[in-house]
């Protein structure tokens, strides 16, 4: 028996959630809730992070709790970044109206995070399905949290419908797997579905449908823009990063354990490569025409799922590592981008590009943070996005997918265009009255802390990339 180490983060998350609920009734006024709950959740998550780092480090990969959980570096690394993302999101929640004084919002955030942590380490079909639902259901509610806002309600409901449908399809796939193989442990299923016949194609597609929905892979990407646009912005940020990374963690595990990389038929890689290309291209091309910053980020996050997929397609240890690294870089960057958009949206009341006129004069620091996140998204050094992109393309080249790498770099040129286009509004255009000095944008303290953490993370990942990639490589090595 291994003790509680493998699920230490989950236990602490649960405890924290309960604490939030206990504390809540003692706070009399909404104002004190608003000030207290976010800090409380964030510091709780920080403690969880530190304790996990100290006491829950995995050694050699190990199946624990009757094969339900695999205690390995992939799960651990993702868990750490989910905790970070949740902590930062809790700080951003404090700045979002109607979210900030509701203990339920923080509780749902913690519950979703718990689900994600389990998703990243689940090693059994049953556990996997449960954890995916544990993640999804709180997120449905969070997306529709603003009851009076039609868009938010629409967003939550749309997310629920799409999510329920695809998870049903995925569950059908799981039941087929169990029916044919008679086993549910992911690591017992290797070799069953590697030949390229109707059965394995069908099963893989059914399973992939649910996961493709989670990571918004083409052709299951339609929900993303509407949901992100309607959801409260910090929630959209969390959805588009942590939830997507969790989906990828499952994809990485499934494609190395069940649909084995070594034995896999090359046709599979080809199909995934085409899906990756379509995802990148569709996301980027539609993003080109957007006039709304939130929708732009939504479409760009579809495109980023495509880039991360390039690393998976390479089907090598290096490829998987580069995909993990990409997801980490993307998580930090996109959280930051959504945060800035959220703040500007709250202050100006609009997410349209016109809300960004003169931002660099209204708050130079915020404009700089936006510059960092957007350039990192577009893949410019010295920010995280550059090395991450280079590594996934390198992995593609290494495995002989030169055309895929070329498709990727062409896509990043399209991306660069629209990201720069937004920065043009920030730095170049001015408001009509040209009196930006009189309308400064104040940055609340929790927001500032969260943003600084993210920007430092982006710079660290982008410059001292060696050790970070080392962790990702370690995580990927555990998969094989």
């Amino acid at each position: 028996m291994t003790g509680v180490a493998p699920i230490l983060p989950e236990i602490l998350l649960l405890a924290l959630g309960v604490l939030v609920l206990i504390v809540d009734p003692f706070l009399k006024r909404d104002e004190s809730r608003r000030r207290f709950l976010g800090w409380f959740t964030a510091s709780g998550l920080l403690v969880t992070l530190v304790l996990s780092l100290l006491f829950a480090r995995p050694a050699a990969p190990l199946l624990v709790y009757g094969g339900m959980i695999r205690f390995d570096w992939l799960g651990f690394l993702f868990e750490l970044f989910f905790l970070l993302a949740a902590g930062v999101s809790a700080l951003f929640f404090m700045d979002a109206e109607q979210l900030n004084y509701r203990a339920e919002a923080y509780l749902l955030l913690l519950a979703a995070t718990l689900g994600m942590c389990l998703m990243a380490s689940a090693a059994d079909l049953v556990m996997l399905y449960l954890s995916i639902e544990t993640t999804s259901i709180p997120l449905y509610i969070l997306a529709g949290f603003l009851k009076e806002d039609e868009k938010s309600t629409e967003s939550g409901f749309k997310y629920l419908l799409f999510g329920a449908l695809t998870s049903a399809v995925m569950l059908y796939g799981f039941s087929l797997i169990y029916g044919f193989a008679g086993k549910t442990g992911l690591y017992d299923l290797g070799g069953y579905f590697t030949s390229f016949n109707a059965l394995s194609i069908g099963v893989t597609f059914l399973v992939l449908a649910g996961l493709a929905f989670k990571v918004s892979l083409f052709p299951f990407h339609f929900w993303a823009p509407d949901v992100y646009e309607g959801a409260p912005t910090p929630v959209a940020g969390f959805l588009s990063t942590a939830s997507k990374a969790a989906g990828f963690a499952v994809i990485l595990r499934l494609f190395t354990a069940v649909f084995n990389a070594d034995a896999i038929n090359p046709n599979w890689s080809l199909i995934l490569a085409i899906l990756a290309t379509l995802t990148m291209t569709v996301g980027n091309l539609i993003a080109l025409t957007q006039k709304n910053a939130k929708r732009l980020l939504a479409y760009s996050s579809i495109a980023h799922a495509g880039y991360a997929m390039v690393g998976v397609v390479a089907f090598s240890q290096f490829g998987m590592a580069s995909a993990v690294f990409y997801l980490i870089a993307y998580l930090l960057t996109n959280l930051g981008a959504f945060a800035v958009v959220g703040l500007v949206g709250r202050v100006t009341g609009s997410d349209d590009f016109s809300a960004y006129y003169g931002l660099s004069r209204r708050n130079p620091g915020l404009a700089l943070a936006m510059l960092v996140t957007f350039l990192s998204l577009s893949g410019m050094p010295p920010f995280a996005g550059f090395v991450a992109k280079v590594f996934v393309f390198a992995a593609a080249v290494q495995s002989g997918w030169v055309w895929l790498a070329i498709a990727g770099v062409l896509n990043s040129i399209v991306g660069l265009y629209y990201y720069l286009n937004v920065l043009k509004y920030v730095y170049l255009y001015r408001t009509e009255a040209q009196d930006e000095d009189k309308h400064p944008i104040a940055v609340p303290r929790p927001f500032l802390v969260g943003l600084i953490v993210l920007v430092i993370g982006i710079l660290l990942l982008g410059t001292v990339f060696g050790p970070w990639f080392g962790f990702a490589a370690h995580a990927a090595a555990n998969l094989f």
Binding site: R361, P364, M380, Y427, F465, G466
Partner: protein
């Protein structure tokens, strides 16, 4: 342990940029002085590196190597050879004079100098990097601030269009080269991005022939090679003065230099195979650039297209693959760098005072701005390759280099285009600086300030100095060329 000159040079600007960003937006004077201090530090160190480079020993010197990511064989590996030492010096010179010229930037100078210095770090990094991965890293760092610098502080009419066009062109070029570099990395089988190791790898001839063109052309886009030169005049014209100086003076060399270092030096067989094509494209650059420049009426477009023409000479020097041609190209990179920097500085000074760059509307400026006039005249003499100026030291060997090969006729055509160059630069000098000053300018042209004067004299000193004493630069370049020839000979 030797003092890490190159890393200090590379990181001085970016550190300065971070310091500047901590200032309050209102501290405009402090920003300027900090920028100047950083520029002078970088200049002093690069001058020291240049002077103490041991040209008789040759090879790579001032080597520094720090493991950055052993897993993939990426290291922070700096070193200069005879080709890059002059370019490091050039960057220091243009950076410092650029700061002096930009003293009057009053719209958000904090951001202006911060972005300019990030760019400068990128440029130093490319010239000093001996690691392929880090070369790309710095190369991209040099690209993106360009967009902001041009779009924010540029010429109102064309800046958005020009900035976007430039950025997309350059990014396209760099990612195409990047794919080539990744393919090289994986085919070499050495698990390292160290270019000193990759130089010794003999890639198969077929491989080299396939990949040379994308790698070379990807970088050469930044060098302004035809038919991808289109971004350059637009970019130069739209950019604010210091950025034009940086851009034409240093950034285009960045492209040419990377094309040489990665394209020709790592894929020598490919270089030999494709040399005729490069030669042809470079010839188009020279002739076409000169003719287009001669029909422009905008002072800045004239200089912009003349840069296209002059960079053609650099590419042509490369394509000869002969000692003379390569030496000429190396000197031309430096000479053209200081020359265009001076030209753009002068154009900026005239424009700031006359508020027009339309050549027919200008005249008689020499009376109001004597030093600017002298500067432009010296620049013109360099531009047309007059003996006694650095342009001659650069262009003459290039033509000599071609003459020995079977493309002698190319030398004749290119040399004739020099006459076109001479005609248009002299015409511009006459129209802008001599003749009668239009009445609306009488008494309105304020003199240039001390920093402007120092910058102009400083730039002129290099052009005349190298022209009169080629020994101040040629031996450096020759020692670099020696190494390239060894590589080409072994191919």
């Amino acid at each position: 342990m030797q003092f890490p000159f190159l890393s200090v040079i590379v990181f001085t600007p970016v550190v300065a940029s971070l310091i500047i960003l901590t200032y309050k937006p209102e501290w405009k004077t402090a920003v300027r002085w900090t920028a100047l201090a950083a520029g002078l530090i970088a200049l002093a160190l690069s001058a020291f590196v240049y002077i103490t480079y041991d040209k008789s020993a040759g090879g790579y010197q001032f080597l520094e190597k720090y493991d950055w990511m052993p897993l993939l064989g990426i290291s922070l590996h700096f070193g200069v050879d005879g080709m890059s030492a002059p370019l490091v010096l050039l960057t220091g010179v243009v950076m410092t004079t650029g700061v002096m010229i930009s003293w009057g930037v009053d719209d958000r100078p904090r951001e202006f100098f911060a972005f300019l210095f990030i760019l400068a770090s990128g440029v130093f990094g490319v010239f000093a990097s001996l690691d392929l991965f880090m070369l790309f890293f710095f190369y991209e760092i040099a690209v993106f601030p360009m967009y902001l610098l041009i779009a924010i502080w540029g010429w109102v009419k064309t800046r958005e269009y020009a900035a976007m066009k430039l950025t997309l062109y350059l990014f396209l070029g760099s990612v195409v080269s990047l794919i080539g570099a990744l393919v090289m990395y994986f085919s070499s089988g050495r698990q390292t991005f160290d270019m000193l190791v990759l130089e010794t790898v003999k890639f198969s001839p077929t491989f080299q022939k396939i990949w040379f063109l994308p790698v070379f052309m990807g970088f050469a886009i930044l060098g302004g090679i035809f038919p991808f030169h289109n971004w350059s005049p637009d970019g130069h014209v739209a950019a604010p003065t210091a950025v034009s100086m940086f851009h034409a003076g240093v950034l285009m060399k960045l492209g040419a230099f990377a094309a040489l270092r990665v394209g020709i030096m790592l894929l020598p067989v490919g270089a030999k195979f494709w040399a005729p094509l490069i030669m042809g494209l470079a010839l188009v650059n020279i002739v076409y650039g000169a003719f287009i420049a001669s029909v422009q009426t905008d002072f800045k477009y004239v200089i912009g297209f003349s840069s296209v023409s002059h960079m053609g000479l650099v590419m042509m020097g490369f394509a000869t693959l002969t000692p003379q041609g390569l030496t000429g190209a190396g000197v031309q990179m430096f000479s053209h760098g200081v020359m265009t920097a001076l030209f753009f500085a002068a154009v900026g000074m005239v424009y700031d005072r006359a508020h027009t760059r339309d050549i027919p509307k200008l005249g008689g400026m020499i009376k109001a701005l004597p030093l600017v006039g002298i500067g432009v005249i010296v620049g013109s003499l360099v531009s047309m390759g007059m003996p006694g100026f650095s342009g001659f030291i650069a262009e003459f060997p290039i033509f000599m280099g071609i003459w020995g090969t079977r493309w002698s006729f190319v030398a004749i055509i290119a040399a004739v285009s020099i006459v076109v160059t001479a005609s248009y630069v002299l015409l511009v000098v006459r129209r802008v600086f001599f003749g009668k000053m239009p009445e609306e300018f009488e008494g309105h042209i304020r003199p240039i300030n001390t920093f402007d004067k120092i910058a102009l004299v400083f730039l002129m000193a290099f052009m005349v100095g190298i022209g009169l004493f080629p020994v101040l630069m040629v031996p450096w370049v020759q020692s670099g060329v020696q190494h390239i020839l060894t590589i080409l000979g072994g191919a």
